[in-house]
């Protein structure tokens, strides 16, 4: 598998997971034109798009995805009033296939209606990628994970300093704590999967994170390479 990062911040999120024959888009928070470019305009290979929740940076451009015939998979709570024959409703703990990818949806901890995260398995190689974003923590534990695509949004010490320096108000900091993954929580999650071959950290906050430190410290603790996703990155999985 291969992972391409098109966007990984609150400005817009989108990733492409390439399998043997099919491509799976994760999130619809980036203009479809840019996604098309990254796909080299070969839309026929796209099996579908998974969306985690209804915030704009994850779902904002879904209209154009749907118009272009992309099958979109998300919860009823996420899709809300949207009505289109290309929408596929999924629920937490349901297993479904999108092209060659076998997917398990599970509930995440965020302040939207019915947010989901996904476990993705290549049905050809059996390799498993765990995709967790915009979640204060993950309730679940999975078996045989090969790759982690996981949020590492902020560090408590940095956010506290920003509140003290009045760069962000306390109530925003509180909201972030309740809805996004903190460095230590991400670290704990990673340590739960000692067999993982690669960790890609996503959705780092602009103000409340330190990519260099995150990469360095988590590489030290994990048994495998840890990368901070940047726009345009490509990772062989």
């Amino acid at each position: 598998m291969k992972l391409i990062v098109i966007g990984s911040s609150s400005k817009g999120n989108c990733y492409i997971l390439e399998g043997e024959h099919h491509k799976l888009i994760l999130e619809a928070g980036i203009k479809f034109d840019e996604v098309k470019k990254a796909l080299e305009f070969k839309l026929d290979y796209v099996a579908g798009c998974l969306v985690t929740h209804s915030h704009k940076d994850h779902l904002g451009h879904v209209g154009n995805f749907l118009i272009n015939g992309i099958q979109v998979y998300g919860s009823k709570g996420t899709m809300g009033e949207l009505n289109n024959h290309n929408i596929n409703y999924v629920k937490s703990k349901q297993t479904f296939y999108v092209g060659e990818f076998k997917i398990l949806a599970f509930d995440s901890i965020h302040d939207t209606e019915e947010p989901l995260n996904f476990l993705i398995e290549s049905s050809l190689t059996g390799e498993r990628l765990l995709f967790i974003t915009d979640s204060a923590y993950c309730k679940y534990k999975f078996k045989d994970i090969d790759y982690l695509l996981v949020e590492c949004n902020f560090k408590e010490s940095i956010i506290q300093k920003n509140v003290e320096d009045k760069k962000i108000p306390e109530f925003i900091a509180q909201r972030i704590r309740e809805t996004h993954m903190e460095f230590e929580t991400t670290k704990r999650l990673i340590l739960n999967y000692p067999g993982v071959k690669k960790v890609i950290l996503i959705h780092l906050s602009d103000k409340n994170s330190d990519p260099g430190l995150f990469e360095e410290e988590l590489t030290f603790h994990a048994n495998c390479p840890v990368h901070v996703a940047k726009v345009g990155d490509e990772y062989a999985l």
Binding site: H21, D44, E121, Y140, Q174
Partner: protein, 293 residues
């Protein structure tokens, strides 16, 4: 004894005993129309239906202590869940009591020196005259035309508390102040500067604005009253439950992470909600693969 009966013994029965003690020592007086035993009975029935965000029974998840404390707070404040004066809300393993706007009104009216409480929403184009007398704000004139009433054009709200000695206490909040209070709400009704249209606050903006200004007035008032400390303590605790205290939340989420993160094992289910079309992955040479679905 069933689990439920055991839990009832550890919570409802404990609270009933405690209330009897308070009554005996005269520490607290209930309004004549309030029967703590009935309120507890209906609370117990309602509690059995309360669910957490992830659809688990609150009674299975919440700690016994938090259930007992919630019930005690309810009774001390003389609130009735059947009259929708309060709700039970689970946060992680902690059950909390939240008072509704009816509840706040009911309890404030119970304070000794209160005669009446009245509230109004102020709309754009309303004629409003506020004067300051002896350092206190007073509303001397409020003229409202029917055509002004539009929930999208609320500019503020006020509450007037009339005391038995005929003095008047006025609390006025601008819409900006009201929205600032909503930003602290656990219900997340705000999206930046806008009220979320789908939230209760977006659908019933006028009612929620009234609730906010009444809450503030009553909070200020209750804390300067000379009623029993037990009642006021309990009142304040429930008021705090509605808003996100700085330390509370930090503790809440880290405790929740400690208890719940990376615990429940799950895996793919045998039952698949959509089936792969046979031969879907078969790609012949020099031919592009078919799309998944």
């Amino acid at each position: 004894m069933s689990d439920l009966a055991l839990l009832k013994k550890d919570t409802v029965d404990v609270v009933t005993k405690k209330i009897a003690e308070f009554k005996n020592t005269g520490e607290i007086k209930f309004p004549e129309t309030y029967c703590p035993e009935n309120a507890l009975k209906s609370a117990w029935l309602i509690l059995q239906e309360v669910e957490t965000k992830d659809k688990k029974k609150a009674l299975d998840v919440c700690s016994k202590d938090s259930i007992a404390n919630t019930l005690l707070d309810m009774v001390i404040q003389g609130l009735s869940p059947a009259k929708k004066q309060c709700y039970f809300i689970p946060y992680g393993s902690q059950l909390q009591l939240q008072r509704s706007y009816f509840g706040t009104l009911a309890i404030t009216k119970r304070l000794k020196e209160i005669k009446d409480i009245r509230s109004q929403v102020i709309f754009e184009d309303d004629e409003l005259e506020i004067t300051i007398e002896d350092g206190s704000r007073k509303i001397t004139k409020h003229i409202q035309k029917l055509q002004n009433i539009d929930t999208n054009k609320i500019i503020g709200a006020y509450t007037i508390i009339e005391k038995t000695d005929e003095t008047i206490y006025t609390e006025i909040m601008s819409m900006a102040q009201i929205m600032q209070a909503w930003r602290q709400s656990k219900m997340y009704p705000m999206d930046g500067d806008k009220i979320k249209e789908t939230s209760v606050h977006g659908k019933f903006t006028d009612q929620m604005a009234l609730k906010t200004v009444i809450n503030r007035a009553c909070k200020n008032f209750a804390n300067t009253s000379d009623d029993s400390d037990i009642l006021i303590e309990s009142f304040n605790r429930t008021t705090e439950n509605e808003y996100k205290g700085e330390k509370d939340v930090k503790r809440d989420i880290s405790q929740e992470i400690e208890e719940n993160a990376n615990k429940e094992e799950i895996d793919f289910k045998e039952e698949v909600v959509n089936e792969v079309i046979e031969g879907d992955f078969v790609v012949k040479e020099d031919e592009e693969p078919s799309r998944g679905f």
